[in-house]
Symmetry: C2
Subunit: 136 residues, 2 copies
C-alpha cells in the first residue's frame, strides 16, 4: 500500500468498487485525510464506483457535509461514481436545517442497496471453487 | 447501534453478509474488542456470512492469529461463515513459521473473491431504480 492508513478506516476493494465507511465523531482533520486517501485510492486502484457507508454517523456538521460533496465531485472527475449509504434520519434532518442538500451526491438507503446500485448483487447460491480452505 | 465503535473499524452490513477489515498495527486489546464487536453484530444482524479483509495487515503475531481462529469458530457456532481475505505473503510466511495454519479458517485471495464466495457477484450492468439521487 502506498497510502498510509491516516484515517484508521479501511478502504476495501471489491473489483472496481471501493467500499468504506465513516465512524461517528468524525473530526475535521480526519475528514480531510479520509477524502485525500479515498481519492488517492480511486486513482491507484482504478475504481469505477465508491460506496461510503455513513450509518454509524449520528451527527453531521457543515464541514463534513461539504467534504462529502467535494469528494463526490473529485471522484466524478476521476471517473468514479460515489454512493453515500445508510444516512440516519437525524443526519438528514440536520442537513436540511443547515440548508445543505448534498447536491450531486447519490444516496442509498443502506450499504446493500448502494452496492447493488454499483453493480454487485446477491446471488441465489454461492459458487464453489474460489476458496482456499485451510481445512483441506 | 447497540454496540459501541470500540475498535474504530466499521462493520458494514450487506444483506446477510458483514464486511469489515483489519488495519495494520493491531494490538491485542483492539483484537479482542474487534472479535467481541463482530460476534455481537453477527448475532444482532442475523448475519450468515462475514468477510474480514486483512490486506492492510503487514505483520501478524500468534495472538491475532488465534483471535482469527477463535472468531471463526464462534461465528460458525452462531451460524455464520467467515472468510479471511487478502492475506499478504509475509503474513502467510509468518503464520507457517509460527506453526499456526489457521485451521478451520477459510481464506480468499482478495475481498472481491471473498465476497463472491459469500454469495455476491458483480453484475454486468448496474440496475436502475434503487437510488435516491440528490440531483432530481
Amino acid at each position: 500500500m502506498t497510502v498510509p492508513a491516516s484515517t484508521g478506516v479501511p478502504i476495501l476493494r471489491l473489483g472496481d468498487v471501493l467500499v468504506t465507511g465513516l465512524l461517528n465523531e468524525l473530526d475535521d482533520k480526519t475528514a480531510v485525510a479520509f477524502a485525500d486517501e479515498l481519492t488517492e485510492r480511486i486513482s491507484s486502484d482504478g475504481a469505477r464506483g465508491v460506496l461510503i457507508d455513513i450509518s454509524r454517523l449520528e451527527i453531521i456538521d457543515s464541514y463534513v457535509a461539504r467534504m462529502l460533496m467535494e469528494l463526490t465531485t473529485m471522484s466524478r472527475l476521476l471517473g468514479a461514481r460515489v454512493i453515500v449509504a445508510g444516512m440516519q434520519p437525524p443526519v438528514a434532518i440536520t442537513l436540511v436545517e443547515l440548508g445543505l442538500q448534498l447536491t450531486g451526491v447519490e444516496t442509498a438507503l443502506n450499504a446493500e442497496q448502494g452496492l447493488t446500485a454499483l453493480g454487485w448483487h446477491r446471488s441465489p447460491q454461492a459458487p464453489e471453487g474460489v476458496l482456499r480452505d485451510a481445512h483441506r
